[in-house]
């Protein structure tokens, strides 16, 4: 092996890597929040009595869960691009990841809602709450607790998936790393450093989720 390790370029580029990390974190959080909300709506749509809503939700969930995330991203970028709908890379990545997350979260929510006894909804309704009030104040807080762990897994997964962004020209952490590597040819050093940064982001997110859970689920 005659590869000579040279870490200076990595240290020099550290500010750029950190800046790109912020893009990664930002895209992850926005995609998660949208994906979470959309997943909840998909769950209600799929269990509703309106067939068109059921159909729409089923197609979404099926496609999101049974096709590669990369193809979903390419579809939003190049598929839509081909018919003249050109979307900014940043927004494309958010759309694709939110689309993907929503599909998975809808399934996760299905399990979560099943875990809450129907009598909880009944007793909330018997107090005069509307369906929406009963869901918001009684059922969903319990569902959130039930799906917390699969949900955090999904969120970490989304954060890692943002690396696909480099394939549509987004300078998030992977895109930035690729760019820096092509400038310096320090492949090992840059990819290793980036792997460590991803690891740290994931650990930080897990810590954050644990703190939120601790705050949110007291007494349970």
């Amino acid at each position: 092996m005659d590869y000579e390790f040279l870490w200076r370029p990595v240290f020099q580029a550290f500010p750029q890597l950190l800046k790109a990390s912020l893009v990664t974190i930002e895209v992850s959080i926005i995609s998660m929040v949208i994906g979470l909300a959309a997943g909840l709506l998909l769950f209600f749509a799929r269990s509703s009595g309106v067939w068109i809503a059921r159909f729409f939700a089923s197609v979404w969930i099926e496609v999101a869960r049974n096709t590669p995330a990369l193809f979903q991203l390419f579809f939003f970028k190049f598929g839509l691009g081909a018919i003249g709908i050109i979307i900014d890379s940043y927004i494309t990545v958010v759309m694709a990841l939110a689309f993907n997350t929503a599909g998975y979260m809808a399934e996760t929510f299905r399990g979560g809602f099943k875990a809450i006894p129907g009598s909880q909804l009944n007793s909330a309704r018997s107090l005069g709450m509307t369906f929406v009030q009963a869901q918001c104040y009684v059922v969903i807080p319990q569902v959130l607790r039930a799906v917390w762990h699969p949900m955090t897994n999904q969120f970490i997964w989304v954060m890692l998936l943002t690396s696909l962004g480099m394939l549509v020209g987004l300078r998030e952490l992977s895109g930035e790393t690729q760019f820096l590597y092509s400038k310096t040819f320090r492949a090992f050093e840059f990819f290793a450093a980036t792997a460590i940064i991803y690891y740290c982001i994931a650990k930080l997110m897990l810590l954050l989720f644990r703190l939120i859970a601790w705050r949110l689920f007291r007494g349970q």
Partner: protein, 240 residues
């Protein structure tokens, strides 16, 4: 007053209520007894519009529970209900459990609702447990919170659906005492129960249900000591 006329209700093929006629007057305590599957719990669910009905009518203070024009959310505020399963909301403390509906449904301020909740919990003997989560309460205490929660909406009627049947035997007494206290205070109540002795003590009338029909309704003494229907006789001899 609750007036039920020729009420029929099916679940798919199975008809569980086969034409019930029943009137419950204000201030009255009516117990409904009968074996499992006789339709007693379904009757309560229908009164609170938690189950749709096939035909007939239920009027509460003259308002048709199942009329399309009726605002069920408003109507349900008049009718408190406590269920067999412990239904405290597990993510809220006892006080928050009781305060939730007054806040969200009656739009009370948080402070007023919490004060009201504290008073109601005091009333059922749980003044010490305001900040306890359900996981830290016994089944009997949870059922009393559920009663306080229903009372906080100031209902005119209370429906109890076998509220002691999921309890350990030593916890039944405290919940029954709470219901006794309500009966004394003049609350109009319908209670579905398996506890014949309790029903005899607390009720003005007892109705016996058998396979979706009301076989017999009478004063506790008459129904228990001098039943007229052979089904009632058989049921009573089985439970004693």
């Amino acid at each position: 007053m609750i007036e039920i006329k020729n009420l029929k209700k099916s679940f798919d093929e199975l008809q569980v209520l086969k034409g019930i006629d029943l009137t419950v007057n204000n201030g009255e305590v009516l117990s409904v007894i009968g074996s499992s599957g006789s339709g007693k719990s379904t009757l309560l669910y229908c009164i609170n519009a938690l189950e749709p009905i096939d035909s007939g009518s239920i009027l509460v203070d003259g308002i048709g529970v199942h009329d399309k024009s009726t605002d069920v959310n408003k109507l349900r505020q008049k009718i408190g209900m406590v269920f067999q399963q412990f239904n405290m909301f597990p993510h809220l403390t006892a006080q928050e459990n009781v305060a939730l509906a007054p806040r969200k449904v009656k739009k009370m301020s948080k402070k007023d609702a919490m004060d009201l909740a504290a008073r109601q919990l005091e009333h059922v003997g749980l003044g010490q447990k305001l900040n306890s989560y359900p996981s830290a309460l016994s089944g009997g205490q949870q059922q009393r919170v559920a009663i306080a929660r229903a009372l906080a909406m100031e209902p005119s009627y209370m429906l109890f659906d076998e509220v002691t049947s999921a309890l350990d035997p030593e916890l039944v007494g405290e919940v029954e005492d709470t219901m006794r206290m309500l009966a004394k205070e003049g609350m109009t109540m319908i209670l579905v129960t398996h506890e014949i002795n309790f029903a005899r003590d607390v009720s003005d009338r007892i109705a016996f249900f058998h396979e979706g029909r009301m076989e017999e309704i009478n004063s506790p003494d008459q129904l228990i000591n001098h039943p007229t229907s052979e089904h009632t006789v058989k049921f009573l001899s089985n439970v004693r």
